[in-house]
Amino acid sequence: MNFRVVFKALGMLLVCESLLMILPLVVAVYYQGTDISAFFLGILITGIFGVPLSFIKTGKKTMYARDGFAIVALGWVLLSIFGSVPYIISGVMPSFVDGFFEAVSGFSTTSASILTHIEDLPKGILFWRSFTHWAGGMGVIVLTLAMLPSVGSGTVQMLKAEYPGPTPGKLVPQVKETAKILYKIYLVFTLLEIIMLKFAGMPLYDAFIHTFGTVGTGGASNMNASVGAYNNIKIEVIITIFTFMCGTNFTLYYQMLKGDLKAPLKDDEFRFYCGAIIISIVLITINLYGNMFSSLWESLRHSSFQVVSVMTTTGFATTDYNNWGMFSKIILLILMFIGGCAGSTGGALKSIRVLLLIRVMKRELLQIIHPRAVYMVKLGNKTVEEKTISEILGFFFMYILIFIAAVLVISLDNLDWATTITAAAATLGNIGPGFGIVGPMGNYSQFSDLSKLVLSLCMIIGRLEIYPILLLGIPSFWKKTNL
């Protein structure tokens, strides 16, 4: 591995993080909370590590694929470690494991919280928690690429390693420009939602928190009862629409901006994503009507909010869906695995992979009927490369394997079925709340430190799509020369 290049990029990443901490510091100062010094020290500590590293001279070294993966994997671990500094110093979470868990949960847009009384916490800390969703949603590496001068050639490797989805799509030839365009679209969505939430009657501070949670498909709220605390239909509709939009591939927005307004309709993945959402809403509404809610309207309101929130891996809640019927809960569990679109801020397997897996399955069956037939798996009107397909099959296997391994470790805590299984699924898929103790009104504080660490790892693995973190465990990845 090319350590100089890797360290330099990591340094830049930390500089970027310390810059990000300025915003919560401003909030803390504005509300005169107890957390001012925590952010001040956070910026200082992160900067002390980041600035010298970013001045490393790399010479003419190019960045290769594994350097990119190393930067992304190590980068996210470092981000989370330094991101936990404010939590620990402010005393909100005295233990390192708790702080790390919360920071990972923030950056990976999971919002699996161990906090029990959210409303009592300092405003700056809550702001930081949600702001990490915002930065982690579109990708901290992408943000670094957009903000800081180029780290040298081969930056596309970093984009690739952080990109959610099987085939990374650059929008324009330059990586830096692509990163800028993505963040511009992202910023517009953010501002739009803040304004709309404010007009719908939410306090400005809450509007910021919920917007960050929405556009990053994170889902951290400053209320224990999440969005349900407002009991405001307008707010719910706005949040539903924006989570839906941010669970969509951002490339489609770029194409629409370029004048191709029908781009989403032509996109197979988007159609699958919409179809899955609509079918789930209908099924859950029917299941809820008469059992949970007496009016059809009420059933539709809660089912649509919850389906979109879980499918995009956001994790907001308007009601405690722990009490819903088993059928509805299982549908939500399935959605936890499917997740948003590639190139969105959502997590989990991604719609495109599930869609392709279904098409591969169909091909395998047809192949038995006509053994000599040649079938190509298609997406839109383009043939999908065999290499991509085998990567997706491998990815699916690894995802399930990690899920099972995580469930196995968590089971040591001896909690109930629903909690054990959904805790792993909800962290690996970056959703946040699951069922049982970790349900929408519950939290992760009951787990042991070991489980918390394993779940933290799940969150990073889920956000970075497995490969970067697993690669860190392979010895030859670290060697300077591969034999």
Binding site: T62, S153, Q157, V172, P173, Q174, K387
Partner: protein, 447 residues
């Protein structure tokens, strides 16, 4: 500029690399997944898989808004059709690579009929370059500027040359010459020297000046360019056809060795002036029996870089005076040079340079790049209204590592000093390091 390149082969890749480095938006179209993914992984470009002839693919690449389309697939016909389609779809400029000698005579007609802005024939260009070098045999490389009125030659400094250990500013007074040492290459590093620079053994120096002055200069330093009479070419490909004809016109005797019998028959039809020998060019016995030691020049231009290298080494060992080898892979060039072969010619690099020159703009008359663009020698015509006109050069405040090497005004060639000025219409030759220059204003941008 938005540039679409069709074909991600060696030339396409090299072009994409250079163009994207100078901040152009580059989109590559190719049918081959492996070639594309290489480009995608290493370069700042956008890749589209598909055929460049297809209207749909071209539309997807945004052909309406593109400024330039460069077709460099391995088929001449595909390149032509690509350019034709693209032009109809609204691209502003098109460049096609057309290399078959069948088309070579009709290039002008093709250019007009297909609306092409530039046709590149790498093999023809390589042949021209080899012929240039043979004309000035003591040089490693020869490049023409200002329509041949100014030449630049690359010379290797050997220990017997009196200039070793001398300061550049002393050299002028001692040898009374109007030749400029523009660039020095020492251990793969490019240096733009000033007056205090001391020349060492084994440096490669680039000299700029009028042809006659250069000739005298070389004579003075013991590198007398001798006249070349007998030339042996190994490999009867396209370059050999172009080169054989050129050299025969210049009155040299040409021997071509080609391994394929059918090709030999074709060659003897195409270049009747040359002696065609059917045999293996890497076979030492054959080369000796064909009097390799009598040859003034030996040129290896088979399709395989490795064979060229071996043939050239054998020739050098057996006493051929000047040995030139062709290399397709650009990264081989420095290795081959280090083996003691006099000159290395790379058609791919020539092609890239030609296209880069075109992209640079109308004012750039010629462009020569040293070691993958570490330094560039650019010939620019001073356009009216340029800020640099009629100002004394010493007042311009040229940036570091940039020099104005020569000014050509009508038939007068001047190596300028601080008190000289540039006038409208002058051809100015600028040497710059790590900097792309496309207009004279950029030269003085700092001041």
């Amino acid at each position: 500029m938005k540039i679409i390149i069709i074909g991600a082969g060696k030339v396409g890749y090299n072009l994409a690399e250079n163009l994207s480095k100078s901040n152009h938006d580059v989109i590559i179209i190719d049918k081959n997944y492996a070639a594309l993914s290489k480009a995608e992984e290493n370069l700042e470009v956008l890749c589209i898989k598909g055929s460049g002839v297809s209207t749909n693919i071209l539309m997807e690449a945004g052909i309406e808004t593109a400024d330039l389309l460069i077709a460099v697939t391995n088929s001449d016909e595909v390149n032509m059709v690509c350019c034709l389609t693209a032009k109809k779809l609204g691209v502003k400029h098109t460049i096609a690579r057309i290399r078959d000698h069948e088309y070579a005579h009709e290039l002008l007609l093709l250019k007009e009929e297909l609306g092409l802005d530039l046709i590149i024939n790498p093999e023809q260009a390589a042949a021209d370059e080899i012929a240039n070098v043979l004309n000035f045999s003591s040089a490693i490389n020869v490049e023409n500027f200002a329509k041949g009125r100014v030449k630049m030659v690359e010379i290797k400094v050997t220990e017997d040359m009196p200039m070793v250990g001398m300061r550049l500013k002393d050299m002028g007074s001692k040898f009374e010459s109007s030749v400029l040492v523009g660039v020095v290459i020492r251990d793969d590093e490019v240096i733009v020297p000033n007056g205090d620079f001391i020349i060492n053994e084994n440096d490669s120096i680039y000299l700029i000046g009028q042809p006659s002055h250069l000739y005298n200069f070389c004579k003075m330093f013991g590198k007398v360019p001798h006249k070349i009479r007998n030339v042996m070419i190994v490999g009867g490909g396209r370059i050999a056809v172009y080169l054989g004809k050129l050299l025969a016109e210049m009155g040299m005797k040409v021997k071509v060795i080609e391994i394929d019998r059918d090709n030999c028959i074709q060659l003897s039809e195409l270049i009747p002036e040359a002696l065609i020998i059917h045999g293996d060019g890497t076979d030492e016995e054959l080369l000796r029996s064909e009097n390799i030691d009598e040859m003034d020049a030996f040129i290896a231009v088979t399709g395989m870089d490795e064979e060229n290298m071996m043939a050239a080494l054998i020739a050098k060992q057996n006493g051929a005076k000047k040995v030139i080898s062709k290399a397709s892979r650009i990264n081989y060039i420095s290795i081959i040079k280090s083996l003691g072969i006099d000159s290395v010619i790379s058609p791919k690099q020539i092609t890239s340079n030609q296209i880069l020159k075109y992209v640079r703009g109308n004012n750039v008359e010629s462009l020569y790049r040293i070691i993958e663009g570490q330094a560039e020698i650019t010939e620019i015509i001073a356009e009216p209204g340029s800020r640099i006109l009629n100002t004394k050069l010493k007042k311009l405040g040229l940036p570091k590592d940039t020099i104005i090497a020569t000014v050509v005004r009508k038939n007068e060639v001047v190596i300028p000093h601080g008190n000289d000025i540039i006038k409208e219409g002058d051809r100015v030759i600028v040497i710059s390091k790590n900097k792309n220059i496309s207009s004279l204003d950029e030269v003085a941008a700092v001041s």
